[in-house]
C-alpha cells in the first residue's frame, strides 16, 4: 500500500519529493509503537519519552511523549503527569487499560484539548504541535493532551508600517495570536476563521479570515481552491503563499497586499477582503487587492480626511516621480532640450561640462549605487549602520560630484526618486516600480518622451488586464464606478462613506446609517422654552 502510493506519486506529476508514508494504525503493543515512533522521528534530543507503570508493573503501562520546548513544562507537569501519577486508582492493580483510558480521558486531564488518535501520523502531527501523547499498552488508541506552549515573541510595534496615530501593535509569528487580534477587533458572529495545514514538511498553519455575508463567496471558493492546490514541502513566510495563489505570474505588480498591522487586516476584512494569516511570520495577506489598495494606508482613516486626501494625492504623485523622474531627466536632456527653460538648460549644461558619461550611464550608475546602498543598509549589522550614511551621503554624493563623475542635478534626481519611493505605503508596489524605473530609463534613452509614453501605455494596458481573484486590478477606475471613488484618490469623511465599496465582488452593503454628518440641531442656539425630552429610555 505505501509502495503503491509512492509509486503513484512518482509516476504522477507530483514534483515534491516526500517521504510521507501511509497512515499506520497503532499496534496494541506499546513496545512496537515506541519502536515505530523511534524509527519515524529518530532520537532527537528534544523528545521526551517517559514511562508510567503501576505497582504490579503489568496491568497498566503508559508512555508519555512530548517535545521539550514545544510544550509548556508547567502545564505538562501539572495537568498531565501530576494527576496521573498521583491518582490512586491508576496505581491500583485492578485497573485495566480500557478503564484507565476512559477515566483519564474523561476525568483526569484538566486541559482544554484532549484528542484521541488511532494512527501514528495523526499522533505525530499532534506531537509536533505541542501535544503530550499518552500511549497505552494493549490499546490501539492513544490520547493527546494539548499542552502546547512555546517561546513566542511578544506583541511589538510593527517595524515596517509605523503610524503616528493609530494602534501600535503588530502581528507576531504566532498564528493564534494573529487570529486572536482579529477576533478582538471584530466581535461579530460573522467572523469566520478557516485553518489549513500547508507544506508537507513544515505543516504550516494557515488561516483564512473573512466576514461571512460580506466577503464574496466566489472569491472565497477561489482562494480555497488555490490554497488546496498548493503542493509544496515548505511554507516559511507569507510570500510562499502569495506566489502560489496570486494571479498573473508575469507581472511586476502585486495583486495581494501584505501587512503587519491587524487593524489594516480588520479594515480590509470589513470591506470584503479576505485575510490570510500564516504561522511563522508577522506578515498577513489581504486579497483580492486592487492597484489603489496599495496606496491606502491605515493611518488615512485615523487622521482628518482633508490631510488624508492630501497625503494620498502626494503618494500617487510620488509613485509617478519614483517611476518616471530619472527617465524624464534622461529624455529631456538628451532629446527634448527645447522643453527646458533656458536658464535651467544652461545651468544643467554647465553641470554636465566635463562629466565623462552620457546621461543614461550617469543615471544608471547613480541608481544602481543607490540600490546597492539600500541593500547594504538592510543587511548591515546595526552597529555599523552609520557608516552607510557617511559612505552614501558624502563619498557617493558630494565627492562624486566634486570629482566630476556625475552632475549635481543627477544626484538630486536620484535622491528625489529614492525618497519618493519610500512615500508609497506598500513596499510591495514600491519594489515593483523600482524595476520598472530601470526599464523606463533605457526606453527614455533610446526613444525619448515618445518611448516613455509608449511604455506607459503598455503598462496601463497590462494593468487594465490584470485581475486579483477575479477583481479587475484598476477597479473602480477601470471599469469606472464613480460612486466608489470616495476612497480612491481622496478620502471623503467617514460619515459620508455609507456604502461598502464593491471593488472586490463582495456584496455592496450599507455599512453605516445615512445622514450622519455632525451638525447642530436646528434651533439649538435659541433658548429652549422647555427642557427637551431625552429620546429613548434613559435611566430614570
Amino acid at each position: 500500500m505505501p509502495q503503491n502510493q509512492q509509486k503513484g506519486r512518482k509516476t504522477g506529476k507530483d514534483p515534491v519529493e516526500t517521504s510521507v508514508p501511509a497512515p499506520l494504525p497503532l499496534n496494541s503493543s506499546l513496545e512496537v509503537n515506541l519502536q515505530e515512533i523511534g524509527k519515524r522521528i529518530g532520537s532527537s534530543s528534544d523528545i521526551v519519552i517517559r514511562n508510567f507503570t503501576n505497582e504490579s508493573l503489568s496491568s497498566l503501562s503508559l508512555t508519555f511523549i512530548y517535545i521539550d520546548g514545544l510544550v509548556n513544562a508547567d502545564s505538562v507537569n501539572q495537568t498531565v503527569l501530576q494527576p496521573l501519577m498521583e491518582n490512586v486508582t491508576l496505581k491500583g492493580d485492578s485497573i485495566t487499560a480500557e478503564a484507565a483510558f476512559s477515566m483519564i480521558k474523561d476525568q483526569m486531564l484538566p486541559v482544554g484539548g484532549v484528542k484521541e488518535g488511532k494512527t501514528l501520523e495523526v499522533l505525530l502531527a499532534m506531537l509536533f504541535e505541542g501535544y503530550t501523547l499518552i500511549l497505552f499498552e494493549g490499546l490501539q488508541v492513544a490520547l493527546a493532551a494539548d499542552t502546547s506552549g512555546w517561546e513566542k515573541r511578544s506583541i511589538n510595534e510593527p517595524t515596517s508600517q509605523g503610524v503616528i496615530r493609530g494602534p501600535k501593535e503588530g502581528f507576531t509569528e504566532s498564528l493564534r495570536t494573529g487570529t486572536s487580534m482579529l477576533r478582538r477587533r471584530l466581535k461579530t458572529t460573522d467572523l469566520r476563521i478557516e485553518e489549513y495545514k500547508i507544506g508537507q514538511r513544515t505543516q504550516t498553519g494557515i488561516a483564512i479570515i473573512y466576514l461571512k455575508g460580506i466577503a464574496s463567496e466566489q472569491v472565497l471558493t477561489e482562494i480555497r481552491r488555490r490554497l488546496d492546490a498548493i503542493n509544496t514541502d515548505a511554507i516559511l513566510e507569507s510570500n510562499y503563499i502569495e506566489e502560489f495563489i496570486q494571479d498573473g505570474g508575469l507581472t511586476p505588480f502585486p495583486t495581494i497586499q501584505n501587512t503587519e498591522r491587524p487593524d489594516a487586516v480588520a479594515g480590509g476584512i470589513l470591506e470584503g477582503q479576505i485575510g490570510i494569516i500564516i504561522d511563522g511570520t508577522p506578515f498577513a495577506l489581504l486579497a483580492p487587492s486592487t492597484f489603489f489598495n496599495f496606496f491606502q494606508s491605515s493611518e488615512d482613516y485615523y487622521q482628518r480626511y482633508d490631510i488624508s486626501s492630501f497625503l494620498r494625492l502626494i503618494r500617487y504623485g510620488a509613485f509617478f516621480v519614483s517611476m518616471l523622474l530619472p527617465a524624464l531627466y534622461i529624455a529631456v536632456t538628451t532629446f527634448h532640450q527645447e522643453m527646458l527653460p533656458t536658464t535651467l538648460l544652461i545651468s544643467l549644461a554647465a553641470q554636465r561640462e566635463g562629466v565623462p558619461l552620457p546621461a543614461l550611464a550617469e543615471a544608471l550608475l547613480m541608481e544602481l549605487t543607490f540600490d546597492v546602498l539600500r541593500e547594504a543598509g538592510v543587511r548591515m549589522p546595526r552597529t555599523i549602520g552609520p557608516a552607510i550614511s557617511i559612505v552614501g551621503a558624502l563619498v557617493l554624493g558630494q565627492a562624486a560630484v566634486q570629482a566630476g563623475l556625475v552632475s549635481a542635478a543627477m544626484v538630486i534626481v536620484v535622491s528625489f526618486t529614492a525618497i519618493s519611493n519610500f512615500v508609497i505605503p506598500s513596499l510591495a508596489i514600491a519594489n515593483s516600480i523600482r524595476l520598472i524605473r530601470f526599464v523606463m530609463m533605457f526606453i527614455a534613452a533610446s526613444l525619448g518622451l515618445f518611448g516613455i509614453m509608449s511604455f506607459m501605455m503598455v503598462l496601463l494596458i497590462h494593468m487594465a488586464g490584470l485581475r486579483s481573484f477575479g477583481v479587475p486590478y484598476l477597479s473602480p477606475v477601470a471599469p469606472m464606478i464613480p460612486r466608489y471613488l470616495k476612497d480612491i484618490f481622496i478620502r471623503v469623511p467617514l460619515w459620508s462613506m455609507t456604502m461598502r465599496p464593491k471593488t472586490d465582488l463582495g456584496k455592496e452593503t450599507r455599512r453605516q446609517g445615512p445622514n450622519q454628518k455632525p451638525q447642530p440641531v436646528e434651533g439649538a442656539n435659541q433658548p429652549a422654552p422647555e427642557q427637551p425630552k431625552p429620546q429613548g429610555e434613559g435611566p430614570a
Binding site: E338, T343, E353, V458
Partner: protein
Amino acid sequence: MNTQRKALCLILCLPLLSALLSGCWDDRELNELGVTSGSAYDWENNEWKATYQVINPSSGASGMGGSGGGSTSSPPFVTFTVKGRTIMEAIERTNLTSTREMFFSHSRITVIGESLAKHGINQLIDMFLRKQDARETVYVFISKGEAGDILDQLMQLTKNQGSGIQLMIEQESRLLSYYPGTRLFELAMSLASESGSAVLPEILLTGPGIMDETSETGRTDLPSRLALGRLGVLKGEKFVGWLSQKQAFGLSFMTDNIETATIAFASQPRKSDKLDASFILQNSWTNVHPVWAKDHFIMDIDIKGSGVLTELGSVMDLNDRKAISEMEASLERQVLDLVNNSWTEVKKLGADVTGFAVRVHRSDRKRWKQIEKEKSWDSVFQEIEIRPHVSFQIERTGLSNKSFKSVQQE
C-alpha cells in the same frame, strides 16, 4: 489563454517596432550643444552674413551670477560670424569652426541689419517658419548698422544677452508702450496681412565702442550700452523708414498697443504750455472704425483711458473737480497731438503700419474687394483722413490733493 498571450506579445512588440522608426540616433548630450541665445543677419556683398551668439555654460551664464564652476573671466557667450549664399549654408558653415552643434530652440532674439532689411527679409522669415528647431517666437529687431555688432555687446546684470534683450523689450512694451515687441510670427503675420507692412523696434549701441571684453563690463557706467531706439517700418519685405519714439507712441495709441504708459502734459494749459505733470495711463482701449465718405475713408479712432496722476508741478488744488477736468482735457490734447503727428509720418512713409487695411476689409468687404482688384490701396491709404477722439479719466490723484507747490506758497 493562448490568444491572450498572443495579443499581449503583439502589444508588447508594438513599441519595439517604433524603435525602428525613431531611436537614439538623434540624441544629443547637453555638453554637445551650442545653445544659441540670439542671431543676427546682414546682407553683405550679395551674401548672407549670419552671426550667432552661443552661450558658454561654464561661465555661469544662467544669470545666477558667478556660480557654475567656470572661470568668471570667460565670456558668458561667444559669437560666430559666417557667410553663405543661403542662410542655411551659412549656418552649416559654423560647424567648420565650432566645437558644438548649433541648437536654436532657445533663441530669444533676432537682429536684422539695415542692409538686409533693405534687401528684403522674406527668405529669412521662411527659414524661421520652416526649420524645425528655429523658433518663430523670437523677438525681431532692426539695427542701423551691422546687426552682428549688437550680439557682441556684453550686458550687465544679465549674462545671457539674448534673453536680456528680450526682457528689455517685454518690459518696455509693458511699462512704456512706445512700441510693442514684435515676435517673428507677428512680423510674418503683419507682412502677410492686407496692409503688408510691419514695424520693428530698433536696437542700438548708445556709445561708439562695442563692449565685448569681460573686463570691460566691470564698470558701473558703461560708455556704451544696448538700448531700444526708433521704430523701423517695413513695407512688403523691405525697409522704408523710421518712426521716432514719439511717433511710435502715437502709433501705439492708434493700434491699441498701450499697456501702461506715462504721459507728460501741461497741467494748466491756459497759463502755460510747460509740461509740468505726469499721468500713468493704466487702462486704454482704442476702437478704429472706418467710414466711407464719398471719395475717401475716414477713420474714427476712439481712444479711451484711465489712470493715476503721479506728478504735479503747478499750483493747484485737486479738491476742485474743475481742475481735474481741465487736466484731463490737456491730457487728451497731448495724446491727440501724438496721434496726429504719428499719422503724418506714417502717411509720408506710405506704409500701412496702422493696420487700417484690415479694418477696412472687415467693415467694408465690397469696397475692399474693389480696392484689391485695382491694387489701389496705396492711393486709398494716402487719402485717408483720421478723426481721433480721446477721452481720458484721471481716476485717482495719488496720496495728496494739493500740489506741493501750492502748499508751499500758502
